[in-house]
């Protein structure tokens, strides 16, 4: 009787549909959706004119520019070097490879504040690496470049981890065929392998970009946090909150949330297209 009843409710004979979905929805509503809805609610405290004034103030525009630019640059660095690291880890044998492979996930596990103070100390003018860069005229810490360094760290695992499985599953016979047709190793890589790897690189890039955009902890220690110059958008929201300018903070947060959700949509679209490609490839073989 119970099995027959649940067949209509979840399209399955398994029990627990109401309980599991009910708890999931309740938790989502209480912890995530209701709190998030306050962002939209609080923005209504502002008139349209005040809202526009807040989100298009020069200080806000400078913060968006830095957040978008530095996140994009960090993700681009990770796209290039992430592909290299994934290649080296999958294709070559060297001492300590397993340890290096495990450490790639460090930015996922290390608290961002710890990463922030470590990077700031290293890239400061008297730091381990900063002292060698300063004579060359390169200042990293307390400059916009410091923001790029922190956001590169935070996005480091994404491209590596999206490219690795694709690289592992590449059919070796395709490479052999290209070589037997007279392609050089570089030609095989560029013309045969890279097109297969690019969707994974793109997914990793967007993931790293999205993660970097909202990042706070690792950036504020190394950025210098000068308004109009090295102040990221999350910090501007934080400053407005500390001044009890809740409506102003919410307005900027709303703009920022819309950009993030657009990115989430792109990520899901890329994942969906990849899974469709993979399904099509499997049907072909």
């Amino acid at each position: 009787m119970r099995a027959a009843g649940s067949r209509f409710r979840g399209g399955s004979v398994m029990p627990g549909f109401g309980l599991s979905l009910g708890f999931t929805l309740l938790y989502l509503a209480l912890i995530i959706l209701i709190p998030l809805s306050t962002v939209v609610l609080k923005t209504f405290d502002l008139t349209w004119g005040r809202f526009w004034e807040t989100v298009s103030a020069p200080r806000a525009l400078a913060a968006y520019r830095l957040s978008l630019g530095a996140s994009c640059l960090g993700a681009a660095i990770n796209a290039g070097f992430g592909l290299l690291v994934a290649w080296v880890l999958e294709r070559y044998e060297f001492a300590g490879r397993r340890v290096v492979d495990a450490l790639v996930d460090l930015p996922f596990a290390l608290p961002t504040a710890v990463a922030g103070i470590a990077l700031a100390s290293i890239y400061a003018g008297n730091g381990w690496i900063g002292r060698w860069l300063e004579p060359l005229g390169i200042k990293v810490a307390y400059q916009p470049l410091g923001v790029v360094v922190a956001l590169t760290f935070i996005g480091l695992p994404f491209v590596v981890r999206t490219v690795q499985p694709v690289l592992r599953d590449l059919d070796p016979e395709v490479e052999a065929a290209a070589a037997s047709l007279g392609a050089s190793r570089w030609q095989t890589f560029r013309k045969v392998m890279l097109p297969e790897l690019m969707p994974a690189v793109a997914t990793g890039f967007v993931l790293a970009f999205a993660r970097a955009l909202g990042e706070y902890g690792s950036v504020i220690f190394i950025a210098g946090n000068m308004p109009l110059r090295s102040e990221i958008t999350p910090l501007l929201i934080m400053i407005k909150l500390e001044q009890y300018d809740y409506a102003g903070a919410t307005a900027i947060a709303l703009v920022f949330l819309l950009v993030s959700f657009a990115l989430l949509f792109v990520i899901n679209l890329l994942a969906w297209r990849r899974s469709r490609r993979m399904a099509a490839a499997e049907m072909g073989t």
């Binding site: 399209g11 938790y27 709190p35 290649w87 294709r91 290096v100 710890v114 929201i237 909150l241």
Partner: protein, 275 residues
């Protein structure tokens, strides 16, 4: 795959290989190895005695206690959420499932600062429920409940995200067999489903725990930085660093770094076990 097994046309010349390995290691060195090494070197810069003093002073032990308490509430709650969500998504068909999965991922797309801010807007003195809470003498913002809630928000997708793909890939054949043999829903869950997902579950919990103990931005907004009362370990690190107590800051940071390294070691172990 070891390079030695490949024919020459299918691999790179040794010089190129060494160059690529070198370039990858230099990149990782700048961004991973050197920061990791620095934390421990700076932590012991003032000697082992100063290290122990920094970890055992009352403000530090209070921060450790609060961090453990926060994780002890947030991780089990997100474990329950992850199990329920994965069960609902993988065992049943219903309309709006894709939307549900996207909503579960939503906190990943929200900046930590905004994650904290929304609880201030809801429970803060000028928030939606602020006057009611003040009238009933309940403190959530600038107190422990706010810290726990913000941590739960930020870490809520972690267990669910590990479990959903695993349970979807495994299918329901064994559960359905148990059902036809007359097993109850709880028994199927405990005896059939749970053993099948135990490694993924363990990794989800380990990662969720690491993030719960290390969360900074969201907790920073709701904490109020009341020393000894609402400062978690990451906030304690920030306070010490901003007071130029660098050795003490890195000593406390080294505890969190050790936690991260243990997390990564467990992850490698779990991957090795499930291979």
């Amino acid at each position: 795959m070891p390079a030695g097994k490949r024919t020459r046309a299918l691999s790179e010349p040794p010089a190129v290989r060494r160059l690529l390995i070198g370039a990858a290691l230099v990149f990782l060195g700048f961004f991973l190895f050197v920061p990791l090494l620095l934390v421990f070197v700076k932590a012991f810069a003032a000697g082992a005695a100063a290290y122990w003093a920094a970890i055992r002073e009352p403000m530090a032990t209070a921060a450790i206690r609060l961090t453990l308490l926060t994780a002890a509430i947030a991780v089990p709650m997100n474990l329950l959420f992850g199990l329920a969500a994965a069960w609902a998504v993988s065992k049943f068909r219903f309309r709006g499932k894709n939307l549900l999965v996207t909503l579960i991922d939503l906190p990943f797309a929200v900046s930590p600062v905004v994650s904290g801010m929304i609880y201030v807007l809801l429970f803060g003195a000028h928030g939606v429920l602020g006057p009611w809470l003040a009238a009933h003498d309940v403190k959530i913002i600038f107190a422990v409940p706010g810290i726990v809630l913000a941590t739960m928000f930020v870490t809520s997708p972690l267990v669910a995200r590990e479990l959903i793909p695993i349970m979807q890939a495994q299918g329901n054949d064994e559960e359905e067999a148990a059902l036809t043999l007359g097993a109850s829903g709880w028994k199927i869950f405990r005896r059939v489903s749970l053993p099948k997902i135990r490694w993924g579950l363990l990794y989800g919990v380990v990662l969720c725990n690491a993030r719960a103990m290390g969360e900074f931005g969201a907790v920073s907004v709701v904490s109020g930085h009341i020393r000894g009362l609402t400062t978690t370990l990451p906030l304690h690190v920030e306070i010490l660093y901003n007071e130029y107590q660098f050795a003490a800051a890195f000593a406390v940071a080294s505890l969190l770094t050790l936690l991260a390294l243990v997390t990564l070691a467990l992850k490698s172990l779990i991957e090795w076990r499930t291979r």
